[in-house]
Symmetry: C2
Subunit: 175 residues, 2 copies
DNA sequence: ATAAACTTTCAATATATATTGAAAGTTCAA
DNA sequence: TTGAACTTTCAATATATATTGAAAGTTTAT
């Protein structure tokens, strides 16, 4: 009787978390299903199969398969072969610090680095500083690039730092 | 002859920037047109009207109007009434540090804060620490919440800090 | 009050993105 | 090898999101 209540509560809480994580993801350019698979794996103590994911999230095999591949390419999910089992299992990193640094690493590589390259090119394009429009353009692009480079370096350091540094000591430094 | 060349180059560079900023935005949950309007205003020395934006970005009046409203609600664009003019003009903040802190402030308010509230609720839901599933769930949620709170505080401090601190002094601190 | 100049709204539509599911591909035990 | 168990692919489809444009609303000069 109590046991059932507990399970209900947990199931409900998981559902809420998965749903919210999915909605959250869509605000950050991540599709709902991918974020939900990630959420489900994060709160699952044991590895899950594609069929588990299909059933628990009520999505198709193809959808699960493609999004799992994507999550693996982001380094957020691992494929797991259990000895004696035919099926593949999947787990997600549960340490949120590792998840965050992994996402930072990938987004830096996929988005920030190429953007910085482009900005550097755009700054070189023209240098008649007399023209108001040219000046404004070069100034703005230059400012963005400088900022981006600084962010890039800061993120590099975060990636190299460790969790306890962030979770514990950071505040004192900033005060 | 030279003048034309320069204008061509600048126009081309602007186009590239606007297009890339738009594509970049879509990876972060911002619609292409909104990001492009923002980009165009950032590299425009003078304020622009809705008609300017429509023409230069080749989008409809309604589209410009709605996205401009959105950008204003994000605090990234200002409405401007020029004396003696009937039309409204628009400008964007060009200091990228101010742009960044503004975006951080808004995303914190709109996304991080509500998420932290939810996580706090989810942690309270159940406390039979014996159950492996419950334990895993509470642990993972707790970890995410702790991390989120720390990020929240760090971002608060960034918002209060100033540009030169970030652009100049930050590196030494992190080393 | 009128009307021209301008802004806003929103139902219809177009476009982009995500999802399905069945077929093709792969692996592996017998 | 065969075929059962499983994974991957991708054209078709569904869904979500963005965009249009014309009508309604607003403002301001006369």
């Amino acid at each position: 009787m109590f046991g059932i209540t507990i399970i209900m509560k947990l199931t409900e809480a998981k559902k809420q978390f998965i749903s919210s994580w999915g909605a959250f993801g869509t605000h950050w350019g991540i599709n709902r299903t991918m974020a939900q698979i990630h959420a489900l794996l994060m709160v699952s103590p044991d590895p899950l199969t594609q069929d588990d994911l299909m059933e628990q999230l009520d999505v198709s095999r193809g959808n699960v398969n493609m999004n799992i591949r994507d999550l693996i390419s982001w380094g957020l999910v691992d494929r797991l072969i259990l000895t004696g089992e035919r099926k593949e299992y999947f787990t997600a990193e549960k340490d949120i610090w590792k998840v965050a640094t992994q996402i930072i690493k990938e987004r830096k590589k996929r988005e920030l680095d190429p953007m910085l390259k482009l900005l550097a090119q755009l700054e070189k394009i023209d240098d008649d500083k007399k023209d108001k429009h040219v000046k404004q353009f070069v100034d703005t692009i230059g400012g963005i690039r400088k900022f981006g480079k600084q962010a890039d370096q800061m993120l590099d350091m975060m990636i190299k730092a460790d969790e306890s540094w962030f979770l514990g000591g950071l505040l004192k430094i900033f005060k």
